[in-house]
Every structure is written in C-alpha cells, then in structure tokens.
C-alpha cells in the first residue's frame, strides 16, 4: 500500500541526526500519541544550510520527516515556509488512504523550528 518512494525514503532516510548548535529546533507530538518529530535547522544568510531530524513514529512520520528535510535544505526561510503538505506527499508518490493523520507533522515541526529561529534572531 505504500509507494515505492515512501519505502525507499523510509528504509534509507537522509538527514537523520541532531544539530548540536542549531539555530532553530521544532518538536511536535508526544510518545503517548506515538509520534515525536524533532527538526533542527542551521540558518546562514536566510538560507537553510542544514536541516536534520529525529523521528519516533510510523512509516509516514519517518518518510515525511526525511522528505521535508530534503525539500527544505538549501532553500531560503521564505521558500521553506512555502513548502506545502501536498509538495511533500507528491515527492513521496502519494500517501495511502487513512494515513494522512501524521502526514503534516514533519512540516509542522519544520515550521516550529523556523519560528524558533525567528524568535531567537
């Protein structure tokens, strides 16, 4: 039921990790709900130079996390904020029905990280 692309991203996720000196950190979810996504960003001259994540969660949570970080990396803050849930899903070849509950979480975490960065700067 998962697209090839999702399985590929899920089994070989990019950008897994923590940025120790992140400029912004966004976390969403709780262990009780079964999904915790944390996105770390490093911003340089308004550009997301590095984006990393840690995700405790299901296949969709992990594959959207890695896709969001890949889409955001190298973009300006504004461009990153313009990434839509649809962009993420399209890049993953679509999500199976009934699995969209957590599809936006990774994006939310990115937004939170950007918010955190803006609040700090």
């Amino acid at each position: 039921m998962y697209s090839k692309k999702i399985i590929e991203e899920f089994t070989n996720p990019k950008n897994v990790g923590i940025i120790e000196d992140a400029d912004g950190v966004g976390e969403i979810g709780s262990t009780i709900d079964g999904d915790v996504i944390t996105v770390y960003i490093k911003v340089d001259d308004d550009v997301l130079k590095d984006v990393k994540f840690k995700t405790f969660g299901c296949v969709v949570a992990i594959s959207t996390s890695t896709m969001v970080t890949q889409l955001a990396k190298g973009k300006t803050v504004e461009e990153a904020l313009a990434i839509s849930n649809e962009d993420v899903q399209d890049a993953l070849g679509g999500l199976p029905k009934g699995k969209d509950r957590c599809s936006g979480f990774a994006l939310d975490a990115l937004h939170k990280a950007i918010e955190d960065y803006r609040n700090k700067s």
Binding site: Y2, V16, G34, V36, K54, T55, G57, A61, C102
Partner: protein, 390 residues
Amino acid sequence: MMDIMKRIYMDHSATTPVDPRVVDAMLPYFTEKFGNSSSLHSFGQEAAEALSMARGHVADSIGAREEEIIFTSGGTESDNLALQGVLSREPGKRQHIITSVLEHPAVLSTCDFLKSIGHDVTYVPVSSEGIVDVGDIERAIRDDTVIISIMHANNEIGTIQPIEEIAKIAKDNDVYLHTDAVQSVGKIPVDVDQLGVDMLSISSHKLHGPKGVGALYVREGTSLTPVIFGGGHESGLRPGTENIAGIVGFAKASSIAKERLGTDPARMGRLRDALIKKVFNTIDDVRLNGHATQRLPNNANLSFRHVEGESMLMLLDIAGIAVSTGSACSSRSQHASHVLDSIGLDPDYIHGSIRISLGRENTMDEVDYLAEALQETVAKLRQISSPVEC
C-alpha cells in the same frame, strides 16, 4: 543479515495458510459434489452427508456433540450470534452482560451495540499480566445478568483466561458463559465440558482451514435467537445455503489440529522461548507483554522502548518476515492497542509492540533469523528516533 529467498510467516494469530490436505478435502465439493444440502436429489444428499460428517468432526475436536455445532461465516459472526442471540430473546427488556476489557472487537463492538440499544455491560479489568480476576466477575453479577463472555486466549498477548473457574460462577448464578476460543482451538486442548462453557466461538482460518467459515458451539438446552433470518438452516439459528466446501475444509483442519495437539504446542513453546531469550540477550529496553506461563505456546508479544511498531513491522517485512503490531484488525488504525492499554503498558513502550505468532512450519533457523533482524531493526529505528545521538 542472513540472506533468504523464502518469506517467513510469523503472523499465525492473524490467519494461517490452509493445509494442503484441507484443500484436497474441499476440492470435490466445488465441481462434483456441489449440491445444495437442502435438495432432496442425489446431489443434495451428497452435500447433506458431507455437512453431517463435517459437523461431527468439528464437534469431536472440542468434545461436543454434532447437534451442538452451528456453522457460521467465521469467528466474528459466532461471537455476534452468542451475544446478540441471548440478548435478543426478550426484545425491549434491559439485560446485563459481563465481559472483559481485553476482548476481541467482535465481542467489544457487539457489546457496544447492545449497550446502544439499552442493555448494560460491565467490562472487567485485567491484571498487568493480562488475566481477569475471577472475583471481579463474581462481584459484577446482578439479577439481570444473562451472559458472561470472556475469551479463552487473547489474540494479541496470548494470555489464557481461567474459564473453568468462571464457569463455576456462571453455573452457580444461572448465567450463560460464552468464550471466544478463536485463538485457542488448535493451539491448546479445548474441551467444552472441561471448560464448562455454554457457548464457544471458533474460526476456521486460524487453524489452517479456509477463511469465511466458523462455528458456534451451543450447549444443548441453551436458548438462542438468530441474528440473521431466512430458510431454516443450522437448526434455524443460521440460515443461508451452507458453504459445504468451506465447512468440509474447516472440519478437516479441525481434525488435523486436534491430532497435532500432542506435539505442536511443545514444539512451538520451545521456539518461542528461544526467541524471547535471544531477544532479551541482544536488545535493551524490551518487555514481554502478557503472562509468563498462562499464555499460548506460539505467542510472543514484545515491546521495545523508543521504537514504533509499524516501522518495525515494515522493516521486518522488507527483510522477508511477516509479524504484526497488536492485532491484525487494528494494524491499519493509529490507535494504540486497547489490549496493551488495558494491561497498563508504559507509554514509552506501548507504540513499540509487535506480536510474533508462530505456526507449524516455523523452524529454529527462522527464529534465529528473526532475532537477528529484530536486533538490526530496533537499532536502526532507535538511531532515527532517539532524542540523544547514539
């Protein structure tokens, strides 16, 4: 990781492959002996005889009599017939049911429905090891209690409930006792008289028979109304042209399962225990859910901290191993298992649970392979998930 071509199936609580001898037994009933058992001519009589033989075999496998077996379309329908069938005898009269928090949705949803039309339901809790307290059941009995429904063995954590003791309470209080034995029949000895139950549900596809067939054992003298209505098949309790091929297959599977009870449980128990030992030796922060000994010999339900079940399942699937998160029925939903909830499992663990349910064909090599794959899978997911760099 060892390289294998063959896929390994370790999800026998979800469903089982049909035994080839069962398929052979079924085949003539599709194209040759295809009659409708209600027909008087020779085609019909062949079907009627097959039906009667099959009924005898299923009855035999649980120590019942032929007339006490009502064939249904599966475990879900059997559970519904038992519960709705007792409650519907007096339409409009408010009655009381006792069940447990750990039942299969086939019982729980039926109870929810019965509640919605005005009946009362008590859901007794279970211990942290997943066993009901017989005292709780006794205390829950009221004047208007008509039926107790407690499953024999749980589909997720494999715990076996003290049905014999509950039966004494049911008898003393003149209340019917139904047990959902879908997971236990074929895995451990099940005898309706020894258990002392009035009704017992079985599902063919859990014991290497075809899907879409099941039975409700109904002890002689039990008064029951049908849930679906039509021609007078199955003593009027379950109308509809009988699925002869399916029933013949179910009966064959029941007979084979009964024969194998002498060796299968011990063999599976050894594999299961070896698996648990390996997992505990190689992976940190893991728990075995359910009871240490009062459990099905083929079930291991394990929870891993900071790992999510579906992700584990998918990685194992990619490695060629089929296991389940909780029950098959809830795999698609995002809710944590109500069973794991009911035993009060730590939230750090509850989402990282998988159920391994062994079958006849599984080998020690496969168990070894699973243990290795589990180790890699958990490590990989923890590396992705853990909030601290590992």
